[in-house]
């Protein structure tokens, strides 16, 4: 990796006045078994700045945040707060050091009141050393007044909007005198007004001298809010820049940063007849007027930001979710809404995003999992013989090169890449005409990724139509014959392989967000 060069070429102005670092992390390493989640986690946060951390999905941002939060302990690297070397054993240590983390999904206790959520574990005490609810309520009210939000401290947290929950997390951070506030994609679920309110609070905290680390996929937010930007890629620090000196294009280039076409070879294939035709698919509030087709041997990527509605479209096409209007045609035959069994019979396979929860039964053996979709064809008199299962599993396991010590071992013992192969094997055994693959390489380490990519490419070569959802730009650009970009439930870009670049895809995915503000 070229991170050392990258760091040196970082554009931080050397003549700027020396600012006080509140938090410094250098060269943090974190591995989970064979998977390197973070190779070089480096961040330097100074007092009174809002610092953006950007990178693709899987760049290691979340792992870095969890190290700051004390959730993960780094295997190597230097970590200091206020110039003092620290090593957090747990979350409490991180909190005690003045670091507060606000996750995308706030972690409040639904049964407790708002005030208690803020002060849990350090409730103010009154008479007889007992908790004083009146004092707790008063302090919560003070915090909300300070933040300018009218939240009732006495209501239970259950049912609060995400925006209000985040404000409560911020109130908590303020009451803890946090000098470092980490916000991990706080705006993903917020509306425009709510985002503005959150930013106003963030700026006030910065002006009061806190250091704020802000993680976001939205460049308009990064450029509108942040003073400095740190870029990460593949678990490695790339560079830190002063925001005014940068452009979106330059940042995107650093985020993507490699020769895409060389990494994910997509073999040229003959495009056949239309296999899947989706027209006018609409589910109000989720996706609107979705039109596209996928041909035999073609890989179509559905790209866009997390939450743009890609997975929802895929689930509707496969028949897991309902849609209000529009049609899904498979090989010229109309499919009924909300009938996945019919979709399987028509030749569609669906590889979900969350293998562990939806794609595999983790406790069952490899062979059981691989044969799961075949239960009907394997069964004799309603019973399934272990031998028939094993034979079916072996055929496909061999073809996909699943590395497991024994087909009888539970799937949970396999690596992420091999689990994904088992899921693929499961569907290939049904001889599908169309495979829908949601985030094919999520949680799979870089080495195995290319193997999965080669596999998908091979399947397309055999004439299977493939609809692939991916948040990873290099994957989209390297694999897809055509790219459909979604934004806020609509298709906003249709790019051929030749037109698709990081810039054009990112532009289609974010343009409206920028123009709406």
């Amino acid at each position: 990796m070229t991170h050392l060069d990258g760091r040196e070429s970082g554009a931080t102005d050397p003549n700027a006045p020396v600012r006080r670092s509140v938090l410094t992390l250098r060269g943090a390493l974190k591995t989970f078994g064979p998977v390197v989640a973070l190779a070089d986690g480096t961040i330097d946060l100074v007092a009174g700045e809002i610092h953006a951390l950007v990178g693709e999905n899987g760049a290691g941002k979340s792992t870095l945040v969890k190290i700051l939060a004390g959730v993960h302990q780094p295997d190597a690297g230097e970590f200091s707060v206020d110039g003092q070397a620290v090593s957090f054993r747990n979350v409490a240590d991180s909190k005690a050091a003045g670091i507060s983390v606000i996750y995308q999904e706030p972690t409040l206790f639904p049964d407790l009141t708002v005030a208690e959520n803020i002060f849990i574990g350090r409730q103010p005490k009154g008479r007889f050393g007992l908790i004083s609810r009146a004092e707790m309520r008063r302090r919560a009210k003070d915090l909300f007044d300070q933040l300018g939000v009218p939240i009732d401290p006495d209501r239970v947290a259950e049912g609060l909007s995400i925006a209000d929950q985040q404000i409560i997390e911020i109130a908590k951070a303020i009451s803890l005198d946090a000098r470092v506030l980490v916000m991990d994609e706080p705006t993903a679920a917020l509306s425009g007004v709510e985002v503005e309110r959150l930013f106003a609070v963030a700026r006030r905290l910065r002006d009061a001298g806190s250091g704020i680390l802000f993680i976001s996929h939205r460049f308009d937010e990064v450029f509108g809010l942040c003073d400095r930007i740190t870029v990460m890629r593949d678990g490695t620090y790339i560079a830190t820049h002063e925001t005014p000196a940068m452009t979106v294009e330059a940042i995107v280039r650093e985020m993507v940063g490699r020769d895409i076409d060389a990494l994910f070879p997509k073999s040229e294939t003959e495009r056949g007849d239309v296999v899947l035709r989706v027209s006018g698919l609409t589910r109000p509030g989720v996706f609107h007027d979705i039109d596209f087709e996928v041909r035999a041997g073609e890989i179509v990527a559905l790209s866009g930001l997390v939450g743009a509605g890609r997975t929802e479209v895929a689930r509707a096409v496969f028949g897991i979710d309902r849609y209000e209007s529009g049609t899904v045609e498979m090989l010229g035959q109309k499919l009924r809404s909300k009938d996945p069994r019919a979709s399987i019979d028509a030749g569609i396979g669906f590889v979900p995003e969350d293998r562990r929860k939806q794609g595999l039964v983790m406790e069952l053996s490899v062979e059981r999992n691989a044969a799961l979709t075949l239960r009907h064809s394997l069964a004799k008199f309603g019973l399934i013989s272990t031998r028939a299962e094993r034979e079916a599993a072996e055929t496909w396991g061999k073809r996909l090169q699943v590395k497991s010590s024994s087909p009888e071992h539970p799937v949970s013992t396999l690596s992420g890449g091999n689990q994904q192969k088992v899921v693929l094997a499961k569907w290939l055994a049904t001889d599908p005409k169309l495979l829908i693959i949601d985030e094919p390489t999520r949680g799979i380490d870089v080495g195995t990724k290319s193997e999965v990519h080669r596999l998908i490419s091979e399947l397309a070569g055999r004439g299977i139509a493939i609809l692939m959802i991916s948040s990873e730009l290099p994957e989209v650009l390297g694999m897809a014959d055509r790219v459909l970009v979604m934004r806020e439930g609509r298709i906003t870009g249709r790019l051929d392989r030749s037109e698709a670049t990081a810039e054009t895809v990112m532009h289609a995915a974010t343009a409206a967000l920028e123009s709406s503000r």
Partner: protein
Amino acid sequence: MSLDSKSAAPAHPAPGHQRRSALGSVLKLRELPVILALVILVTVTAALNPLFLSEQGIKDLLLNATILMILAVGQTLVIITRNIDLSVGSILGLVAFGTGSVFVAAPNLPIIAVFGIGILFGAVLGAVNGLLITVAKVPALVITLGTLYIFRGINNAWAGGTQYFAGDRPEAFGNLSVDTILGFPVITLIAVVVVAIVAVYMLGTRPGRDLYAIGSDPEAARLFGIPVTRRVLMAFVVNGALAGLAGVLYASRFNSVGATTGSGLELDVVAAAVVGGVAIFGGSGTVVGAAIGALLLTTITSALTALRVDKFWQQAIVGILILAAVVIDRIAGVRAARKLRIAEARNV
């Protein structure tokens, strides 16, 4: 996902509305249904059979409820953390038999020391449960189902055919269940003090509130830095200690203790807590509610006997009460969710 179709501003009730809902929160008490049920039950039974509320009648009612009450309070601590302890009946049995043995072995030991030994014994058994659950990370349901049989087995091996009767214990000890202060049996007053102490602990101390947080969202509690393991272990130890106390009181109250003392009690205890408004998945409910639940369950048995209802029906009615408690809880939840949706819809 359309960002703009979401509510532009979050729903906030007006200040005046807040005041009303503070008053209304009394009506929304989780314990309200069980209190109402108790009042109705007592009123109706007393109207049909005036002897039910005689001095002796009330005394019997309270005496019968005492032991279940203490067990239900302990169980509530455990259930609030999203755990369960099915071994309490066996713990009670072991401690009750142990108490009988202590009196035989050392007849002159002060009664207070016997209480101390019993509570300590229970706490140790509770700690066994707690350690197995927090260290081995096996669900409490499985662990305590196991210790239910293990503790009972030890009791069987220890007691064999031996039983201790009222004559084996000092008279003063037995009198705890006979004497009254201001008309209340002494052991009932002990139970009330226990309920009060635990209630204050759960409502007014940080570790007590931590238990609610843990049951409300264990993962968030861990992320937040609450010492989950220590707190859950503590809940099991306290529950064991209370089961130990209940065991000592059992030995005082009943004429004989032996190998089967307390068998099957655990389900009554869980039922009392659930009927008293303790959510079985943790996070909400109070020990006072559980104590009233225990009082209600024993009162039903007495009331139905007073009304000459067949024993068979008594159990069925307890079952119906449990289902009713769950249904009421569910309806309350659905109504709250619907209210919230309406509030959000107004804001669009």
